[in-house]
Amino acid sequence: MAAPAYPAWVTRWVSGQWRNKKRPPTLRPPRTLALADKVANRREQSTEATCITEMSVMMACWKQNDFNDAPCAEEIRTFYDCVAKAEKERKNQNEDTLSSRGNLPSSKVNKLLKRFPQITRYV
């Protein structure tokens, strides 16, 4: 039979580590118990790719017409329109408001926290 697994306190008791009042330290925090003035750098959840349907329509047209541009002019025009619209959307969107998922990016959060830091000592 393999060695029986006793709980940790049993082994400690048996070994005599805690005789003579040699207790483990009650609390020794390595850092101050206060909130830091920054959050971790989180990789922002990316938005979806735009204009995929127009692109696939255009590519289907290309496949049929042996990649000539003349017969596919209509599809190419719609693709360009979609791209221009998406570009304008991206320019207009304001990053100071919440993103689509309801989170601020970590850089903006850090800027705000820096303006209002945690007070660690009183004068």
């Binding site: 990316s46 938005t47 979806e48 790719a49 735009t50 204009c51 995929i52 692109m55 696939s56 255009m58 590519m59 290309w62 496949k63 990649f67 000539n68 541009d69 003349a70 190419i76 693709f79 791209v83 998406a86 991206r90």
Partner: protein, 230 residues
């Protein structure tokens, strides 16, 4: 500070005669308006925005016009850009003469074709070298490009829409590299360039083929299009 004045610190450049790379205009400076037609318009014809623009120009300083910007009817920004890309080691004189020889060669070839063609086909032949140049460049521009995106350690070629500037740049770059590399030792650049431009005008030739190859690769990789995040 020294940086704001546009001077380099003395430690880096003890004797500097040429203008400094970092000189920068104040953001309040406006771009110069070079076209003669916009200055000759009477006041009534201007729209609201143009009137506001004129009033703004009366109070704001204006940047100095760069030497490549000209108000002549013969100057064309695309041609200037192409000439600059052809230029090597700052030899603008040579690049400009090559460009004018190219346009002349195109005109000569088209005129030859024109005079040899039968009467009914004479209208279809385009003789204006500028029109041919612009149409050829337009035909060479790729519509969709590929960009490297790394996911999970592997790099994929993802099809991506291109900006106008990037398309123009790619078209010009392909033309120039094609003319520099794939020619006989004794053919001169204007000759080869005029050949390539005429082929591109008719949607033939190696540059158009290179564009089609790019499109085919984008079409083959269309499954990775979702890796884009813009």
């Amino acid at each position: 500070t020294a940086r704001a004045l546009g001077y380099s610190p003395a430690s880096l450049a003890p004797c500097r005669i040429m203008p400094v790379r970092w000189t920068r205009y104040n953001p309040s400076y406006l771009e110069p308006e070079v076209k003669k037609e916009s200055h000759q318009k009477p006041l009534e014809e201007l729209t609201e925005e143009e009137r506001e623009q004129m009033e703004l120009k009366a109070v704001r300083p204006i940047k100095a016009a760069p030497p490549s910007l000209s108000s002549s009817v013969f100057s064309d920004p695309m041609i200037s850009k192409f000439t600059n890309m052809m230029m090597k080691s700052g030899n603008k004189v040579l690049a400009r003469s090559l460009m004018s020889q190219t346009l002349e060669a195109i005109k000569r070839k088209q005129l030859e074709k024109y005079h040899k063609a039968p009467e009914n086909e004479k209208e279809t032949i385009e003789c204006n070298p500028y029109v041919i140049f612009h149409q050829a460049l337009k035909n060479c521009q790729p519509i969709i490009g590929l960009s490297n995106i790394t996911r999970g350690g592997k790099t994929y070629q993802v099809p991506v829409p291109l900006t106008d500037n990037r398309k123009r740049f790619l078209a010009m770059k392909w033309l120039i590299t094609e003319c520099r590399e794939n020619k006989h030792r004794r053919t001169l650049m204007p000759e080869k360039l005029s050949q390539e431009l005429l082929l591109a005008f008719n949607n033939e030739g190696p540059v158009i083929k290179r564009k089609h190859v790019l499109h085919k690769m984008a079409e083959a990789n269309r499954a990775y299009a979702h890796f884009r995040w813009w």
